[in-house]
Symmetry: C2
Subunit: 306 residues, 2 copies
């Protein structure tokens, strides 16, 4: 299977490397890493065992990659306005587009550009960071939950799930992708949000009783909102405690939004905050503490320039 | 009347200067300003007209001041554990103690140290900052609302109100001091809190639609809580809009908690956040957005040191 990785950051490079290592024909759209990766290959330092890919098929434009069977989208969501430019050259009649991006609204935006039928969504529960150019640190987790965006559950979802599993990535196809998206938001909203706002890693939050309580309160708000979205099975409030316990095992982990802020990149506020807040309000649910966090993050991003 | 100013910051120095200028015998407990003020006097740059006091009776200890008729307390509330040390040497049998400090809990703490009968409370609506040593900038407002802490409304409150009025400070004695305290909290909680957390002046908040909305939401929560405290008259929600409009006139004003944080002083979190949150919860009222702001401020102050 010919695969293109669009958005080759900590997530795209990690999954691309796993797929390539298992023998797939993987092509990476690169930017800052291009020179180093072409010359020196790609190093993955993983909790599941380090590995090194000597020959990496890297490109600077999608045109050079040409048509593929599967596009794996790992772009930061603030770059979604570039879908057409980056993805269109990769498509043939049957190309499947799988977004593993954060938050809500990505499948919808892809469907608008390329039609709904070729769009799949995946929720990646992955802790990874980039090191120096050509280096990925895989710090924990990695499983993916896959689903169709528009079509009824199809054979192709299971086929792609199998592709990941055969590459060493736990992967499960589900009928209710929305539930998985919201489950990830339960983690992403408090930890990405508070860590980015306060410029601290997750363990700093969890050590302080006030912010630990705030994390739980925010998770509860998101669980309420998720359960109003017509998902297949209600999410239990005990998931909040489980997630906090899991996160304690991550030590001084830096969520991606914190890294984005530290590296002066835009924040994924629309996908992780604005769309979920809107989806909640549509169902009559207010998330006051999420709203506040969003307002403060947006102030930090957009309020200081006139 | 022999008057001592304890806590001679932007507030204490301003009111002390007004009282002295009107002919009162004012004695200032000084610290960082001591040398400069003793040598060069005190400059007040005021929206109501600048003035200069050449001879300022400044001291480094309360013992040197000795007994007075009125103690005006302008200490930062995080220094309240020093009440005994700083105030006791100033007291004779009839000395009145008037706290003009921020937030809740100050009259109670003074009453615990010195008995409830000599305690008065005042709410100062004052915009002032310190400049270089020996310089006060009076940027707006200045009125004081005075009340008894424990005794029924007495003649002495009106006497002290008159003392302020004769010094050019609008001052009114009220039976319901609690209402005035909460009215000031409606301003203090959002503006002190968000400005200190985000390290920006008030106009930055009000220019950004998200944080402007957050200010209004927080004010609404505080108004709800205030109206549950058994105050003499309900506070209208329209006060929030009035306060925002008033604050727009202040330009790039820096609330005291922002200056405290910028100058690495402790924050007045107990008086301005913790006591009001507790008072609200006692009446069955939750203030989720105030809670969150408090948790984040407390994280910023106490969460980063292990």
């Amino acid at each position: 299977m010919r695969i293109a990785i669009v958005g080759a950051g900590a997530l795209g490079l990690y999954y691309g490397a796993r797929l390539q290592r298992a023998g797939n024909d993987v092509h990476y759209l690169l930017r800052s890493d291009y020179q180093v990766v072409k010359k020196n290959g790609l190093h993955v330092y993983s909790v599941e065992g380090d590995f090194f890919l000597e020959n990496v098929q890297g490109y600077l434009t999608s045109e050079e990659i040409g048509e593929v069977d599967l596009v794996l989208v790992g772009l930061k969501t603030f770059a979604n306005h570039r879908y057409n430019e980056l993805i269109k050259p990769l498509l043939h009649e049957q190309t499947i587009i799988l977004t593993l991006q954060n938050g809500l609204g990505n499948e919808e935006a892809l469907a608008e550009c390329f039609g709904p039928d070729r769009v799949l969504g995946g929720v990646a529960f992955l802790c990874s960071n980039r090191g120096e150019p050509g280096v990925i640190h895989h710090l924990g987790e990695g499983r993916i939950i896959l689903g169709e965006y528009n079509s009824p559950e199809t054979n192709r979802v299971e086929k792609i799930a199998k592709l990941f599993r055969e590459s060493g990535v736990p992967c499960r196809a589900v009928a209710d992708l929305k539930k998985a998206r919201w489950e990830k938001l339960i983690w992403n909203i408090p930890f990405n949000g508070i860590c980015a706002l306060m410029l601290c890693p997750v363990d700093t939050l969890l050590r302080h009783p006030g912010s630990r309580g705030l994390v739980i309160d925010i998770m509860s708000e998101v669980i309420e909102a998720a359960n109003a979205q017509g998902i297949s099975e209600k999410i239990k409030h005990s998931l909040a405690d489980d997630m906090v316990k899991f996160t304690e095992g991550l030590g001084s982990y830096k969520p991606s939004m914190l890294i984005d802020r530290q590296e002066s990149r835009p924040l994924e506020l629309q996908a992780i905050f604005q769309f979920p807040l809107t989806a909640a309000i549509r169902k009559g649910i207010r998330m006051p503490k999420v709203e506040e966090l969003y307002n403060l993050l947006d102030l930090s991003e957009n309020g200081f320039t006139v």
